[in-house]
Symmetry: C2
Amino acid sequence: MKAAPEHRTKRSYHDACGTARALDLVGERWTLLVVRELLLGPKRFTDLRAGLPAISPNVLSQRLDELAQAGVVRKRKLPPPVSTAVYDLTEWGRELDTVVLALSRWGARARNAYRCSDMSTDALVVSLRTFFDAEAAESVSAEYDLYLTGSDAGTDEFHAVVADGTLTVTRGAGSAPTAIHASVPAFVAVVFDKHSLREAVTTGTMEINGDLTAAEQFTEFFRIPPECSANRAD
Amino acid sequence: MKAAPEHRTKRSYHDACGTARALDLVGERWTLLVVRELLLGPKRFTDLRAGLPAISPNVLSQRLDELAQAGVVRKRKLPPPVSTAVYDLTEWGRELDTVVLALSRWGARARNAYRCSDMSTDALVVSLRTFFDAEAAESVSAEYDLYLTGSDAGTDEFHAVVADGTLTVTRGAGSAPTAIHASVPAFVAVVFDKHSLREAVTTGTMEINGDLTAAEQFTEFFRIPPECSANRAD
DNA sequence: CAGCATCCCGATTGATACTG
DNA sequence: CAGTATCAATCGGGATGCTG
């Protein structure tokens, strides 16, 4: 009969600096990756686990509780037809977008970049937004439907809008004139590693419905930063 | 005679997403705060401890090793006159500036903001840069020397340059026409909580050498964001 | 004294099993 | 599906001690 610890003393940096207070809330292990998974809209517990293949359910559970407690995430129960619980970012939580993108931009230049390995579909979308080059897309207005097959063989649909030098991606395919179907690695190869899209289409790793030229233009919007800059220092 | 574990398997998210890779490198506890302390220039081990009052020396040591290993920080030995080791951000490490500022900006809107408690002088400078309002400083060109007394009674000197809607702060006072002397809490009260500067001067909590009007203008450059937006959700 | 290395203990994490 | 329970492994934090 041990009294439940109850942890009413959450660990904190006790530093008035905004950075430290932010880290008090989202600095624990996995927390920002959970936020990343929620940036494009609400998800169920299982969806989160699918995007974060290595997280333990108890840790995910704890992180979601903490985020809800902090007002970053809200847990909602969908009405009866589905009747499942989903987790959604609050408006304030969604502002972590800038933090996640800044980290992504920085982390992309690390050495030992292993761009080819597994990435969730949501992570891929974050990468798209990370490497979107406003200048390359200047004066372009276009829409695309993306059908991305993840490592779990499930396909996620996204709608990408390019306008005013801005890329906006939302979950769910719309009625875009150009649809791109691909697995995550195939998409990465074409968009980031600049492999030939036509070749990917002929080999069948990618499928384009609609305007092939528009799809090729889409791949031009993304630029990987100037390689890692840091050399071994030790 | 136990074989030293040697940890050659550093914990990783094993996720190709840039965010995850960034967090592999700077996502451990304390790591980003160590970076924050180094943003304004190199520091010794003890200086870091002073700015991070709650970190254990062994953890700081470990974090510095990891950061050096990752190419974020470089350890240098100053030439004989001083002959101490200092830690400095690499060029790539300094790019974490955007990440720290994004976190700071987000964290400043948390509820339970306790802006009045202890903050290191470096953290205060990060806050200044966080809340600097480009529009408020538009078409202003000015320089200031800041003499900030921290909680350890030591005084740190900074040089702030406002130009082109930009605030640049470097360590070390220059020859600015306006010098502001204050403790960290006094400075916070005037700049962020908008207490009267003249009053602070007359009560002696602050001292201005040079142009008092310029100093008052300086305090106008900083705007705290629209309060915390999240309400209790539980 | 600066800059760690060591030891110890409690807190956190991770893998797996289990339940409503 | 959506988590909770359990337990082992690891990590963080404080005290102390070593080394130049």
